[in-house]
Structure formats: C-alpha cells, structure tokens
Amino acid sequence: MLDYKPNMVLSNEEFNSVGKSPIRHDGADKVTGRAKYGADTNMAGMLYGKILRSPHAHAVIKSVDASEAEALPGVYAVVTSADWPETSMKLTDLAEGSIHNLGFLSMNILARGKALYKGHPVAAVAAVSPHVAEEAMAKIKVDYEVLKPVLTAEEGMKADAPILHDRLAAVTNPALRPGGLLEDDAESMQTNISNRFEFSLGDVEQGFKDADIIVEKETTTQAVHQGYIEPQAGVAHWQTDGNVTIWSSSQGQFTVRDQTARFLGIPVSRVKAIPMEIGGGFGAKGITYVEPVAALLSRKSGRPVKIQLTRIEVFEGTGPTSGTQIKVKLGATKDGKLIAAEAELIYEAGAFPGSPVTAGIQCMMGQYDIPNAHLKALDVVINRPKAAAYRAPGAPASAFCMETAMDELAEKLGMDPLEFRLMNSGKEGSRRVTGPVNPLVGYIETLQAAKDHQHYNTKLDGKLRGRGVASGFWGNNSGPASAVAVVNSDGTVSLTEGSPDIGGSRVAMAMQFAEVLDIPVEDVKPQVGDTDSIGFTSNTGGSSVTFKTGWACYNAAQSVKQQMVERAAKIWEIPSDDVEYKESVLQHKSDPELKLTFKQIAARMIPTGGPIVGSAGVNPPGPGPSIGVHIVDVGVDVETGKVEILRYTAVQDAGKAIHPAYVEGQIQGGAVQGIGWALNEEYVYNDSGVMLNSSFLDYRMPTSLDLPMIDTVIVEIANPNHPYGVRGVGEVPIVPPMAAISNAIYDAIGVRMVDLPMSPDKVLEALWAKEGK
C-alpha cells in the first residue's frame, strides 16, 4: 500500500485578492473589438508585404530573377536571401537567454540555397496593396532543381535517404539539443539525424529480469497545429535614423527585438518591439516568422511594411508540433511496483534540427518512481515545416505511449489504473528516471483527488461505452521578468510588466501586486510594456508567467509598500520602523490616532518626496513541476467508428490558483486541444510533400458542439518557491487526453488504439482487424 502521507489538498490560506476571479482589465476592449492585434496597426504610406513560398518540398534554388517584379508599378521592394545577412550556424544564446540556432532560424525565415519544405519562404515583396504584391510575386522567376523529399523520420533514417543538409552535424554532446552545421571543409556526415541522447538510471537489464509482468507498446503521432485564431502579423518601420520599430503579435517582444536585430546585423538597442494583443499562440509565436522580413522590406523600401499571413501560410509555413514514433517497455512486480522502463523516442524536427524530443523524453515518466530505466531519443530532419513549440512541447506524444502502456500493465496486474499509478507515483525526494530528485510535488494528491472524484466513482452504463484515465507531467519553466509600478495621485497604480498576455495574465499580475498592498485589484491598471519601456522579460511560455512575472510584481509591490511607509514616517516625523502597513492603512505602531490610507499618501506623494515608483527584475528559481490526471467517458459508434466524448474531468495541481476561473479555463482549453489531437487533427501530405488539408475546414479541430462541459478540479499543493505558492498551469492539461481517450476506447470496444488521431476510419479498421474482417 501507499507509504506516504499526502500534503494538504485544496489549500485554504485566505487572501484578499489572490484566489478570487475578478473581471480582467482588458476584457471590455476584447469583447467590444477595440483591442488591437498584430494586423491592426496601420500607418500613412504603409506597404503590404507578401512572401513567395516554395511549391516544392525539397529543391535546390538555382536562381531567383526578380527583375520583372521589381519593375511592376506599385512595387517598392523585393528581397531574397541575397539581401539577407548570413547568420552563424552555431547554437547560441541570445543576449538574455533565449536558446536558438539562429542560423537555422534565419534560413527558415528566408531560404538560402535550398527549399526544404513546401511553403518555405524564398522571396518577399512590398507593394502598395496586397494585390499588387501578389501580382509581383507571380513575376518572380525561381529556377528549382526538384529533389526527392523525405516526409517521415522513418524515411529520413534510411541509409539511402535523400539528405536535407549536406553538412549537418549529428550532435555528439549528450546534453545538447538542436545540432548545427559542420565547417565548410569538414567531411559530410550524410545524415538526417541531428541529435541523439539518452538517460540511464540503475540497472535496467536486471530490472526486467526481476519483473513478473512486462508490457511493450509502440505508438505513432502525426504533426498537429496549435490552431491559434490569429495568424502571425506585424508591421515594421525602419526609420531614417536607423532605428526600427515593430508592432506585432508574439509571445515575446524581446524575442522579436533580439532575433530581428541578430538577423539584420544591428544592435538590439536599434530595435523597439511593441507587443500587440495576441490571438492565441500556444508556443508557436515564441519565434519570429514575419517581423524580420517586414523590417528588411522596410529598410529597402523606406516605408513601413505590414505582413499578415493567410491561414494557408500559417499551416504550410509555420511550425506545427512533431510527428513521433515512440516505443516503451515497462516491467512490474506482481504486486504492482514498477521496477524497469525502457523507451525510444523518435521525433520529426521538420526542415531544421530541434524537435521537442528533449522535453518529451524528460516528461515521459516524470511523475513516476522507477528505479531502473534507460531512455534514448532521436531528432530527425525531414521535408516539412520546422517544428515549433506547442503547449507542453513534446510531452503529449510521449505520455500517449507511456500512459497507454500503464493502462495495459494495470489491467494485466488486475489493478485499478489510478491505484496502480498511486503506488508508483513520485513524491518529494524520490528520483525521476532522468536523474534529479523531486522537489515538493503534488502527484499523489492529484491522483488521489481523481480517484475520489464522483466521476470516477459513478458507474458507466450502456453498451460500447468506456472510461479511461491518464496522467501527464510537465516541468514548468521560469526565466527573467520585470515589472514597474507607478503610484498615481488618486491612489491607483499603473503596473507595467513584460509578459505578453495570452491567458489572462494581466489580471493575475495585478492581483499578486494588489495582494501585497491590500488594495482593490481594480485599482491596479496592468499593461504589457514594449522593449524600451520595461526590463527584459523572457517569452510567455513554459507556463512561466504567473510564476516569474508574478514574482516581479510581488517584489515591485513590496518596494512601493516600503516607500509608502517611509512617506508616512516623514509626515509624522518618526522613524520608519515605527510605521506599520496593514490593510492598505499606514499607522503609527504605538499611536492609534496616527493613520493614513494608501490613497491619502498617494495624494501627498509629490510634496513628501516625489513620485512613488516600485520596480523589480527577477529570475526566480524553482517553478515546480505539475501533474494533471484526466478521466474520460466515451461512446463508440461501431457503424461509423466515431468516438463521442460523453464526460470529461480534469484534475490538476496548480500550486495556488491566483485566478481560479482562468486556471479552470487553461485546464479546459488544454483538454480540448488534447481531445482534438486525439480524435481528429493531423497534417495530411501527399507523396510530393504537399499538405492536403491546410484550412480549418479540412483540418478538423473540435468545436463546442463536439464536446461536453469539461469538469475541473484544482488541487493546490503550494510551491514553496513562490510567495503565493504558484505552479504553472497552462501546459500540463494537454498532456493526458490522448492516452485517456485511447484507454477509454479500449474499455468500450476492447481495441487498443496506438496511432493518432483515433479518427473514425482508424477505429473501424481496428475493429475489423479484431473481428478478423
């Protein structure tokens, strides 16, 4: 039985602002259509940029002749790789921490020498209207030598596979992620495998010898898109003084600034990136596609240039997540203790190295305590768009494999699947298979909350219906973050912070700030600053914002509080140690008659010393990992193969839910994306590498009509590394759904689905195979 005393579940420490669900400050602008997104910037004299893309999945670009396009009236600039500075292929840190192989990223934005996927940008045009720009694109003559494409990792790893990059360095450093290119004079390695690494713990061979039951599982997943509503869009203006201003929708204005500067060979101080509202990103808007090209066109034309991608361009020219092939082997004793695990993960990186296999492998068994394990991973380049981050990048695919195997193992052991997971759950101090020991985590409490939930304990009636469960792990990230708070004379506060708001984070920042000062959250006016107005803040990603930028806001509020105390002390002519701040009132510790409210001090701040400004820059450690456990009931139509979601419950450790309604929204949103990934979504290609379903009509995402209400349970195991106990919440809810649904389908019809998506045709084929048809 479980030898562990759970921590508190549903923490009940009371706060004034934290834990409530106030209306977001930006809500009115968004529901009335006033909010300005990436494409909403318009300027006098502005041109429209369009990107010419390769029609071939794999081709040598022998020449580009843009003379006719340049001669077309209304065309102000045409750019190709000849105008595009060559960026070093060395894997590098940008100045303040973002890790990218900028050479590859540069070649992804504008092809150099070779087109590596259908949709790869080859040239760009700026003209007086989108129509003239399109007409000009048709006049650009590109001479291609078409090559055979590599469309899957399996093809790419064959000995006779066409090679995407002649000088690809297959990284030998076991620790590194994306590879680089070898020196010009180095002997070609002729490989599409850009990275391989492994983890090892204990003695896995002996572990399997000691196991009473062994289960092996092999799964495949297809590339899927993040499905954000707003295509990438932005405006760049290269001014006559050499400074560049960019208005765009992104997950990181500092990434836009830094990448644009690096690609165009100018100092970061020359670029000002202004974050517009963002209509969804889910990881995909953490790198640049349009901004550097718009800046290049602006430099050449002398005019501001807007580029707004179409939906087809978004599908074909920006990054989806990786397709994967994953194998796992698990060994357990007959009393249900996991004692050995092996796995091999192969992720398709797209045209350039750098799939999320590093996260996939580290998250695959992150929530379990397994003493012996050996995991290895491969990153393979193929002729498809470069894979980009998508909500818990890499983890959903590996969890799909692991958690279906766990279900099968529980069945063979005759154990309840949640009880089996509880028995093998990691806890504080236990070791993950990748090596490190766990900090304080809430895995057991979350599993227990799922096991105790009414959904799990309600009998499921009806034929062809099944219930499945699965868990998911995500490590969560931190990073540098900044906040500046300016007290206004009416007692309100203008709070500027550096994280683009894609999940309601502005209000969560205001709440953490307001909590320190005991002021109404409505009195805090949060905004996201541009790169000249706020200190460096790393991307909105990794479920990091409420943690890291929350810390910055907390510290900025502490600074304001201290200044308030000092102002009161000055007014009363007493030492500041004699003043205490309580419930937004400053009072003399020993003279109850001496009191001033926050608003009263604010009104007197100028004559008492000038403006009160609190600021903070942080890089806090210890974001703390999260776990989600999902329960799903499905019904399977054996005539059509359609799987219907009948009931869905998602249980998750949030550390402390700053704004519970938005935490609930994140959990529901992640679950819904996972359901789409599980049942419907996939990139469909023909043999030439042309995507066949590049529209939302053919790329089928779930709608509200497809789904029941997603029930949520927020478990709160406070993270000791945050003043309010926050853990990231945005990503882990997309991790469990695929396996939970696969397990539910098995429960309904006795067929284990191992290939995503579990679309009607595949379900029918699996049923027919089972019935010997």
Partner: protein
C-alpha cells in the same frame, strides 16, 4: 563533496562512473575540478568563454533547475545534474 551525475555518453570520460564526488562551492569550480579529474569533459559542459554553460544545457542542483548556471552555489552534499534544457510552449 558534491555528487555529480555524469550523462551516459560522457561516462566514457569518467571511466564508466555514473556519479563522481567533486569538490567545489559553485558550479564553475565544480566543472573546473571535474576537468582536472577527467580531462576533456569540460568542453561538453561549458562554452568557449568558460563563463556560461553550453547553450541548450541546464544544470540542476538539488532538484531545481539553476537560473544562475556557472555561478550557482553548491553545497557540501549537493547533487548536480547536467540535462538538456526544455523549451516551453504556452497555454494560451
């Protein structure tokens, strides 16, 4: 002394040892002492400037990913891992 866990493919440099005991009060000192014990290992861990970890690499000290990298303090009984860093997506 701190215990450093050696990534599997670097264990050829440590004579097959999976964990080694290393002196050092910071990650920087730890890496330099590791290099003295197992020449050649440093180039897999830190960049040419010797000021930073190789891009893409994270150091985990006592279960937490360090934000200070080479400057992170290491205790007498600390456990240190070098793992690939993980990029995040986002929830919205």
């Amino acid at each position: 002394m701190a215990e450093v866990w050696i990534p599997p493919k670097l264990q050829q440099l440590t004579g097959g040892h999976q964990q080694v005991q290393v002196e050092g009060t910071t990650v920087r000192r730890l890496v330099n002492n590791l290099e003295a014990m197992y020449p050649g290992i440093k180039e897999y861990l830190i960049d040419e400037s010797e000021e930073d970890l190789i891009p893409g690499l994270a150091v985990i000290v006592d279960g937490e990913v360090s934000v200070l990298g080479m400057l992170e303090k290491v205790q007498e009984n600390s456990e240190v891992h070098f793992l690939p860093s993980i990029a995040g997506g986002a929830g919205g």
